[in-house]
């Protein structure tokens, strides 16, 4: 009897229940994400919860990401329903100052151009079907493509709708490459522009009135409603958050949306996404493909953004610095800071930060629109 008990005890240890090296490897992946988040400041707000969620969900016996586990509950309550990414978008809307975009709406075109990365990646994912062991449907490819949108909640929202099995890999790729923007973008930006183009000093942005700021969310939402209503959950929550911010009469709601609400949801969303980093779902050729092609997505988006910047540079008679096109990929505010830094290399007195914020936030709208389009075609 005593030996029965010891046997039962042994059978409940982790040692006796690891089912192969996959779980250990995934725990190591979780640790790596956390290492990158802490030591390299790779999007720590998301990658620490995602990494820890990955560790927890690969612990044998406990089944924390199963239907009765806490991570499983977070996933089904917040990700399957789409509620968590949409609440993050509410908070992002409340945190974002769209003033630069209102002052210079033409930068929307840069935000549009950079979305080419999404569709190029979609094609690349389809092309990967030539590799044995990879079988991406159109919906899978679209979910992978959205990595090129460089916007975490949009990627999680679309993947949860089109390709839940790939959600873990897609989210990890999206946040990792967003963190790598300072490394990925500068060489491409330098390669596609001349030193002269990079040193263009742009005209100071005009001031934006309160009325414009209040009208802004309605204008954006109106166009989306008329042309692409499938984008309205994402765009609608973003614009609702922004209206809380700009209306000036609900400061307490705006503060909560920007702080406690987004923080709580970030913790829960990160853990839920991490729970998809399961050995059996994650460790396969497809994940490697997603990671490779995600890198391409950012590079292509940066490139098309900069090329459109060059076009605007010419059409405007040299008033536009083409570098700001790179900020069109979103990755707010990292990409705008990269633009600023690369601009300073060519002209130490040229602060492009504000000018890059326009295409930067335009990129968020652009990715949400692309996501809505993909949902309407494939959802």
């Amino acid at each position: 009897m005593q030996s029965d008990l010891l046997l039962k005890l042994w059978e409940t240890t982790g040692l006796a229940n690891f089912d192969g090296p996959g779980q250990i490897f995934m725990i190591a992946i979780g640790g790596l994400l956390i290492y990158l988040a802490i030591a390299k400041q790779f999007e720590p707000l998301l990658l620490i919860p995602i990494g820890f969620g990955a560790i927890l969900s690969n612990i044998p016996v406990a089944d924390m990401s199963g239907p009765e586990g806490i991570l499983g509950y977070f996933y089904s309550v917040g990700v399957t329903t789409g509620v968590f990414p949409l609440l993050i978008f509410l908070g992002v809307g409340a945190l974002t100052d769209f003033g630069a975009l209102i002052a210079n709406p033409k930068t929307l075109i840069l935000g549009a151009a950079a979305q080419f990365g999404i569709f190029f990646t979609l094609l690349g994912a389809l092309a990967m079907n030539a590799v044995p062991g990879v079988e991406f449907s159109l919906a899978d490819a679209a979910a992978i493509g959205i990595i090129g949108g460089a916007d975490g909640p949009t990627a999680i929202f679309l993947a949860s709708r089109l390709s839940p099995d790939l959600l873990g890999a897609i989210a990890v790729a999206a946040y990792s490459y967003m963190a790598l923007v300072p490394i990925i973008q500068p060489p491409i930006m330098r390669a596609l522009t001349t030193a002269k183009e990079r040193s263009v000093v742009m005209e100071e942005l005009r001031e934006v009135s309160t009325t414009e700021r209040i009208f802004f969310p309605f204008t954006v939402l109106l166009l989306v409603v008329i042309l692409l209503p499938t984008a309205s959950p994402l765009v609608g929550m973003l614009m609702f958050g922004n209206l809380l911010r700009e209306s000036g009469v609900v400061k307490r709601l705006s503060d909560t949306a920007q702080n406690e609400l987004i923080n709580i949801v970030t913790i829960l969303l990160g853990l839920a996404v991490g729970s998809r980093l399961h050995a059996d779902e994650f460790l396969n050729t497809e994940t490697i493909g997603i990671l490779l092609i995600g890198l391409v997505a950012f590079a292509v988006g940066t490139g098309t953004g900069v090329l459109m910047g060059k076009a605007m540079h010419r059409l405007s008679g040299g008033q536009v610095n083409p570098l700001i096109g790179a900020a069109g990929v979103s990755a707010v505010p990292m990409a705008a800071r990269v633009v600023n830094k690369v601009g300073l290399e060519s002209n130490p007195n040229n602060y492009l930060l504000m000018h890059a914020m326009g295409p930067n936030v335009a990129g968020v709208i652009g990715s949400a629109v692309a996501a809505g389009f993909l949902l309407s075609m494939l959802g």
Binding site: G99, L101, I102, P105, K106, L108, I109, G111, A112, A113, Q115, F116, I118, F119, F120, L122, L123, L126, A127, N129, A130, L138, A141, A142, E207, V208, S209, T210, T211, E212, R213, F215, F216, T219, V220, L222, L223, V224, L227, L228, G248, V249, V250, K251, R252, A362, I365, G366, V369, A370, F373, L374, M377
Partner: protein, 78 residues
């Protein structure tokens, strides 16, 4: 697979068309919006807003203000 790639190319073409159409229309819409805003309120700088309306419209803050006022009032009387 060729079929899927063709569908992918179609998605790319229509998708980029949609994204560009919507965002270019938004450029014009935002310009129209700014003109409308200007015609309604004139070139009001952001700073004129201030926290005042926030307080006025915020029920609970008023309650707090009343409570505080009452305490101050009582203390003064004692």
């Amino acid at each position: 697979m060729a079929e899927m790639l063709r569908e992918g190319v179609e998605l790319m073409l229509t998708g980029m068309t949609v994204v560009f159409s919507l965002l270019i229309l938004l450029v014009f819409a935002l310009k129209a919006m700014s003109n409308l805003a200007l015609s309604i309120h004139g070139p009001v700088p952001s700073e004129t807003r201030g926290p005042a309306p926030s307080v006025a419209g915020d029920g609970e803050e008023i309650v707090a203000a009343i409570t505080a006022g009452v305490h101050a009032y009582r203390k003064g009387k004692r």
